[in-house]
Amino acid sequence: MNTWLLAATLASSLFAGLLIFCLPERSVRLRTTINLAAALLKLACVAGMLWGTEQGQQYELRLPFLPGNDFLLRADTLGLLFMTLSAVLWLFTTIYAIGYLEGSPHRSRFFGFFSLCVTATVGIAMAGNLATFFLFYELLTLATYPLVVHRGTPKALAGGARYLAYTLGGGALLLAGIVGLQSLVGTVEFRFGGVAALRDAGDPIVLAALFALLVAGMGVKAALFPLHGWLPHAMVAPAPVSALLHAVAVVKAGAFGIVRLVYEVFGIETAQSLGVLTPLAVLAAFTILLGSFRALAQDDLKRRLAYSTVSQVSYIVLGVALFGPMGTIGGLVHLVHQGIMKITLFFCAGNYAETLGIHRVSELAGVGRRMPWTTAAFTVAALGMIGLPPMAGFVSKWYLGLGALEADMGWVLAVLLLSSLLNAAYFLPILHSAWFDPLPDGQPGTTTTAPVRNEASPALLGPTLAAATLVLAFGLLAGTAWSPLGWVERIASEAYSP
């Protein structure tokens, strides 16, 4: 058992964070070096574990924590999926954030908590039992709060207060669910097929209630209706934080928790026999449509993206709630695909805001001619969100559709179709306006003169383009074994084999 790689994956960002806290504000170069070195180290560790898992190695780290509940870290196939996503996107976001925050105050504090945030996310991915999961789940809440209120404006503080109220409330529900569940069946460790003792642990109504409690606890972070109210307000955070929050850290932690809950705590078969999957699917479907409708009405670009996140994250939950391997594949692969697409979109939004001061959809007219690369990246990701081939988003929706048919839930297909139309309705006008509308008068580069290029700085553009490339690559190369789809198919086969 190789425990070192696990520990190093967690420690790389943890110690980087602690070190950065101690650095004075002005030592920019040292801070940047630590940030990048830690991000690369984490990526290398995760790559090492991916390779090792391929060779049949097992990774587990067990330390005493609570009586009966160890501090348990594991790198199983499901955890590795989320870990890889976190490690890759952390690297992107770190580079981006270094460029984005150049010259702004309190950078040591920012990068310190940023690293803690990633530590918590990776910890959530690795957690091997409910107690460890809860530990990192709450750490994530706390590490993100200073990032949300980073600017210290009254708006930021109000957004932060709302964020805390929702997430700490969710944490309390989760804790109640965990303790309740463990009082019935003892310590719960994550294992495909779920806890065996649960199948005959008595009253199905109690079990269903506990399931609802746990889903509610995770649903706050996953922004499931009606617990999504914090997300648009958390948009006051700086762009790299929004990107990380929406792509990997907070919302994904919730979605990932629901995945663990369904497949590895209750087990998909037990969950199906309890009859809790259909209500979950209905809730997810409703959230998908609600998020899309609300996104239509937003003029603030980041808020439109936020509601789009509300909608898109529920695709993951929907896939999980569909009984059958195809739905599982669709949901899990969207965990990765949504992350990579949404981070591209938020990077682009940050580029627009930072370079041209554009915050609103209505101000985007003609921006494609001034910032062609950023707009190209935005286009790729937006088309992916709509679900057009050959982008990554198409693969997710294709499998979700197959999953719906497999589970005999035809209405889900209608939801998917309607949601795609809505996605198109709130993304295509942006694309059209950005590429084809004339620039407003008075700005350099109106139709009469040649457009003035004003592209974002390389530190901002690099990660944006890299993420956009991945959106394309994950769609085009979906058939290969090392694509997210290939890995997810492997997880699905584990989840459904007895």
Binding site: H106, L135, G152
Partner: protein, 485 residues
Amino acid sequence: MTEVFLLPLAVLLPLLMACCVHVSADRFARPLQWVGALGMATLVLALVAHDAPMRTVLGGWEAPLGIELVADRLAKTLLVFTLLVYAAVLLYAEGYFAQSPIEARRFRPLAWLLWAACNAAFLSDDLFNLYVTLELAGLTAVGLAALSGHPKALAAALRYLLAALLAANLFLLGLALLYGSTGVLSLRMLAAAVEPGTASLLAFVLLVTALALKTALLPLHTWLPPAHGGAVTPVSALLSALVIKVSFVILLKLWLHFAPVLDLVVLGQGLAVMGALAVVWGSLLALRQQRLKMLVAYSTVAQVGYLFLPFAWLRPGTPAAAVAFDASVLQILGHGFAKAAMFLAAGVLLRAAGRDGLEGLQGAASRQPLAVFALALAGISLIGLPPSLGFSAKWSMLQAALLAGQWPWVLLLLTGSLLTAAYVFRAIRYAFLPAPDVSELRPVPALMSYSALLLAVLAAFGGLGTATLAAWLEIEIAGWPEALP
């Protein structure tokens, strides 16, 4: 053999130190304190290293006549706890009193005297001795609370003194009733000799009331906030971390001995209900405070409530009892470290800002990041988020409640956590606001922030050792009541 001098030394050394720092000149007092603290550390380490339970009788007089000192694992844990709190507070006090040597001169001997009283209480095993330590701790604490000599502090200290005297009289009454009917004072002998019945129960209720008053359980809490919030900061830390724990530990000891012989189910539920009310009411009051130290002081009222919840589940022979016992110890440690850290951090922030209002915290996140960090870490433990000691305490309480089949407590524990979060983040929120004016800032020795951080880290990450601690304490409660602790 070693216990013959090790155990009395745990009381005598701080007593001796109190005399020495009192008579020594200022410039010797400081090194002397470090020698003393080092001696205490060595002593406590030696006690903990001695794995077997230790027992000694002073002067060779066996109970029921003589004085017995007993160091079981609970007592050893508490000795270590006291040592850690003292290490941080003494360090902090050096910086805090640097400008006011008169206060320092008053603080040192009283602080050491209090240490002696705490250790004596944790090691004593007979009712009269416990009474004496309770008095000693109470009177020293009153002296400490009045240390600054401000009229407000004096008024609070007087109120505290009256509460302490009332408690002492109640305790003495209960003690006299029990002694009158049994003729013994040692807890073990008392538990064996006491006759179940209304008279014994009444005596026990008197003892419990006295201790609840000294621990400031709602509705007997009104003396606490002005005394704790109005004292100078190092004293606030000692009062909230240790002094109220002394009376609580005595109560816990009594409970463990008497629960098997007397019918305490109703009393236990009653104490827990009062605790629950304290959690809610104390938190609501904390939410309304405009001054940081008063907020922290009212938070103690709420946290004391948590201390009393486990009595609902501490019933002999039930599976929940062991978990409830762990919960009590964890809450003692968690609240002790966290509250001391919180007061120390608050002291740094207030001194830097030069005023006591919450708005004085504005901009502290960038000017006093260490102190804000300590405040936040301590807050995490009070809220009960993992991996803090406070979390482990709440986790154990949740478990005990469900083991006992009393699920409504789950609602209370979760509500309490959310209320705590509300008042903790209300304070921390101010720290993130932009600073009003930089020129107002006064310098604060970094040492003070570090000692606050030391305790805060213990509180916030101590929960990682929960399994180890529970295993270490297991023999104290396993098989209770057959094997009496």
